[in-house]
């Protein structure tokens, strides 16, 4: 047993660190520090910089543009990205449809979509949830009825993140209602410019517009846009939701937030905003959070190490999503407490703050609000616990 990275891993870390130092535009870095909302252009710009370096889609198979990295390298890369305040790119492109295309796509589909996906020449959105199908995703009802060489789509998707920017959607649609609900679901790709699609924005409690409803009214999708077989879309979706373990706890993000909290602790104590008693309370809370973060980080590393020789440590892996999201949320709570009443005012996108270091004050609460979603989306923590109880504990 040893904790240290190998010399090769350390060299890799330095390489990543040095790249990020040079390549990450300063305005993006500043926006990330201030928890500003990134525009589509911001995300695209950064992903193309990464893609030029070959690091946009590192966990894809090498033949499709990925890197043959070890789990430790992936972990290091993610941690360094977070610590450098680098944006994450589009998860829909990088972590979802890309790997699905690599595994289930036809050669023609791969040819048509993969390079464009890696470079965000195509911006993807995900059409999974419906008003009646959230945690119980398999009960989705939006239909795709075969009509010649097209499917005709009718129904509604909801919580479709970034649909307003999307060029294409990948989604799950019901082609058969006769059997078990997991059967009869088909995975389709569709051009968002197809007639019959209406996107309605949903404002979220952080005051932003990320989520949407998407309505389908006789939307015609060519049959060639099917991924896998008709009626087997559930298997594709399960693969998509269950693949990546090395970054699931998002330790890098939490460490970056911790370093922000430490900086704020120092600064607010110095400028008189924190009384002595408040400093002591904050220091105690930070110590509590750090202990848990360190424990979580080591748990993540145990999983990374286990993955390096083919898996195992499942009990450790199973806790990463739940505890990782709890940790991220706790960090935002603490920042919001520090902002106090000065943080009541919402950020003003039209005006930069006078003091570039003060953006955090007004971004604190909206960020706290929006981060409530991490324990809801992608399988709520309740669903995660049900799964752990069943698969790990046999209850």
């Amino acid at each position: 047993m040893k904790l240290d990275f190998t010399p090769e891993e350390t060299a890799f870390r330095d390489e990543v660190r040095s790249f990020l130092k040079d390549a990450l535009p300063d305005d993006l870095r500043r926006k990330m520090i201030n928890r500003d909302h990134l525009t589509k252009e911001d995300t695209v710009r950064w992903q193309r910089i990464l893609n030029a370096r070959g690091w946009a889609v590192t966990h894809w198979p090498v033949e499709y543009g990925g890197q043959a990295w070890t789990p430790a390298q992936r972990y290091i890369f993610q941690e360094e990205m977070a610590l450098a305040h680098a944006p994450e790119g589009s998860p829909f492109n990088v972590n979802m449809i890309g790997p699905v295309l690599c595994k289930f796509g036809t050669a023609a589909q791969q040819e048509r979509f993969l390079a464009a996906t890696a470079n965000i020449d195509i911006w993807w959105c995900q059409g999974f949830s419906e008003p009646g199908a959230g945690s119980d995703l398999a009960s989705l009802k939006t239909t795709a009825v075969r009509d010649g060489d097209h499917y005709v789509l009718n129904g509604q998707k909801i919580w479709t993140t970034q649909a307003q920017h999307a060029d294409w959607m990948f989604g799950l649609f019901r082609t058969d209602s006769s059997g078990k609900k997991q059967q009869g679901i088909t995975f389709l790709l569709l051009d968002m410019k197809t007639p019959g699609i209406t996107v309605r924005p949903i404002e979220t409690i952080d005051g932003e517009h990320d989520a949407n409803e998407v309505f389908f009214d006789d939307v015609r999708v060519p049959v060639e846009n099917i991924i896998g077989e008709e009626g087997r879309g559930w298997d594709v979706a399960k693969h998509l939701l269950g693949s990546e373990r090395s970054g699931i706890a998002r330790i890098g993000l939490s460490k970056e937030r911790l370093s922000q909290l430490r900086a704020l602790e120092t600064r607010l104590a110095a400028d008189g905003t924190l009384t002595g008693e408040e400093q002591r309370r904050l220091a105690h809370k930070l110590a509590e959070v750090e202990v848990e973060l360190r424990a979580l980080e080591l748990t993540q590393l145990r999983v990374v190490a286990a993955d390096a020789h083919g898996g195992g440590a499942n009990a450790a892996a199973s806790i990463l999503k739940v505890k990782g999201t709890e940790m991220q949320q706790r960090m935002t709570e603490l920042v919001t407490e520090l902002a106090g009443p000065a943080g009541l005012a919402m950020p003003d996108h039209d005006h930069a703050p006078n003091d570039p270091d003060d953006g955090w004050v007004n971004a604190a609460a909206p960020f706290y609000f929006t981060m409530r979603k991490v324990s809801i989306f992608g399988g709520s923590n309740e669903v995660q616990k049900n799964i752990i109880a069943k698969t790990m504990l046999g209850l």
């Binding site: 949830s129 009646g132 959230g134 945690s135 119980d136 009960s139 909801i158 919580w159 949903i202 404002e203 979220t204 409690i205 005051g207 989520a211 400028d271 008189g272 905003t273 924190l274 009384t275 008693e277 408040e278 309370r281 709570e333 919001t336 407490e337 902002a339 106090g340 009443p341 000065a342 943080g343 009541l344 005012a345 919402m346 003003d348 609460a365 909206p366 706290y368 609000f369 929006t370 409530r372 979603k373 324990s375 809801i376 989306f377 709520s380 923590n381 309740e382 616990k385």
Partner: protein, 377 residues
């Protein structure tokens, strides 16, 4: 020992609760938020019509002489509606300064306009770079021949953008002092923003603002005494408002648990959610008890009053967070949309914790006083 409302109080509760339910539903509130001012003059006029703006003022000033329990009743009802109108800013905060510090002349001059709903006031006290809830200020008021000149910058001024008059704290040679300043006076700059809870909030700068001698409230240096008293009353009011927001959040959540179907059954059938909903109920009842305590403590001796009020604010800080977070989590994605009430309640509960000293601030005050219960001699 008696925890019943008397007949007048029951009638007040019924009236204001009905008013909020019937005239201030979620769509009306959303509409108000989207106006340039960010709140509804019509709804505020409705509060005036019912006499609620007169509630805490003395009868000789056109008020009703209501006490802590009456204020609790009103604030809880406003909390249920998540009302963003300037009741707290004008009647509770600035109005509190008038009640506890202003001369009879000043009150005669201003209170009728407040009561009529025509005069909006805001308290400009907090500043950047000072402890979060403090009686200190760095703004200054220099004595001139015919009055005072004010300089300083105030943040988190609730309803500052709509205020006709500011109550401004500033340091004089005698210490912290309070002044009435016309929002239209030369040298006053108001930068209106929207609070994350929907309540308008402003940064207000005072640059060489000249006011008359009569603008001073009380005597020079009396600001700390007045504000500390006002903050205790206002804290009790916030506690009551937060109970209203918790009740609403809880009711909406339990309804959702009963109606939302997943996996073929109502999600309220899941025992893990049931037990967490029960914890929410418990937090709500503990908070309600503390709201009553705070309301009944406004006129007791100062030491025990501040213990009780700090205890109440500390309790609702914890309970409000639990209830708000749990409500959002149990709702799932709809809980974080701006189109659904529960997210707004969560945000208001967050703001209430931040205002007038958060849970930790009040716990620290209790530590200083060696606890909630008076220490036996």
């Amino acid at each position: 020992m008696d925890f019943d409302l008397n007949d007048e109080q029951k009638m007040l509760q019924e009236t204001v609760t009905r008013f909020v339910a019937e005239t201030y539903d979620f769509q009306k509130r959303e509409h108000a938020l989207k106006t340039p001012e960010g709140w509804s003059r019509e709804a505020y006029a409705g509060l005036a019509e019912m006499g609620l703006l007169a509630l805490p003022f003395a009868e000789e000033e056109g008020g009703f002489g209501g006490g802590g329990v009456e204020m609790m009743i009103v604030m809880e009802a406003l909390g249920r509606g998540l009302m963003v109108e300037p009741y707290f800013a004008t009647v509770v905060l600035a109005g509190g300064v008038l009640r506890h510090g202003a001369s009879a002349e000043q009150r005669a001059d201003i209170v009728p306009g407040i009561v009529a709903g025509e005069h909006i006031l805001a308290l400009a006290h907090s500043e950047a770079g000072l402890p979060r809830h403090t009686l200190m200020a760095r703004a200054t008021a220099s004595s001139t021949d015919d009055g005072w000149t004010l300089d300083g910058r105030k943040i988190a001024v609730i309803h500052g953008q709509s205020a006709d008059t500011f109550v401004v704290s500033a340091m004089t040679e005698a210490g912290l002092s309070l002044f009435l300043v016309d929002a239209a006076a030369d040298g006053v700059t108001v930068e209106g923003k929207r609070g994350y809870d929907g309540v308008p909030v402003a940064t207000v700068a005072f640059a060489g603002v000249n006011v008359a001698k009569e603008a001073l409230i009380g005597s020079p240096g009396q600001g700390e005494d007045i504000l500390s008293r006002v903050f205790e009353e206002a804290t009790a009011a916030l506690v009551a408002e937060s109970v209203g927001a918790m009740v609403e959040t809880f009711d909406v959540t339990v309804d959702y648990l009963k109606t939302r179907q997943q996996f073929g059954i109502a999600i309220g059938s899941f025992q893990a959610l049931q037990h967490r909903a029960v914890e929410m109920l418990m937090q709500l009842e503990l908070s309600r008890s503390m709201s009553i305590l705070a309301a009944l403590s406004l006129d007791i001796d100062a030491d025990q009053r501040s213990r009780n009020i700090s205890a109440a604010k500390a309790q609702i800080g914890k309970s409000g967070r639990i209830i708000g977070q749990e409500a959002v989590q149990m709702h799932g994605a709809i809980g974080i949309t701006a189109e659904y009430k529960v997210g707004h309640a969560f945000k208001r509960l967050t703001a209430i914790d931040a205002l007038l000293g958060d849970r930790d601030w009040h716990l620290a005050r209790l530590v200083e006083k060696r606890g909630v219960y008076p220490v036996a001699a």
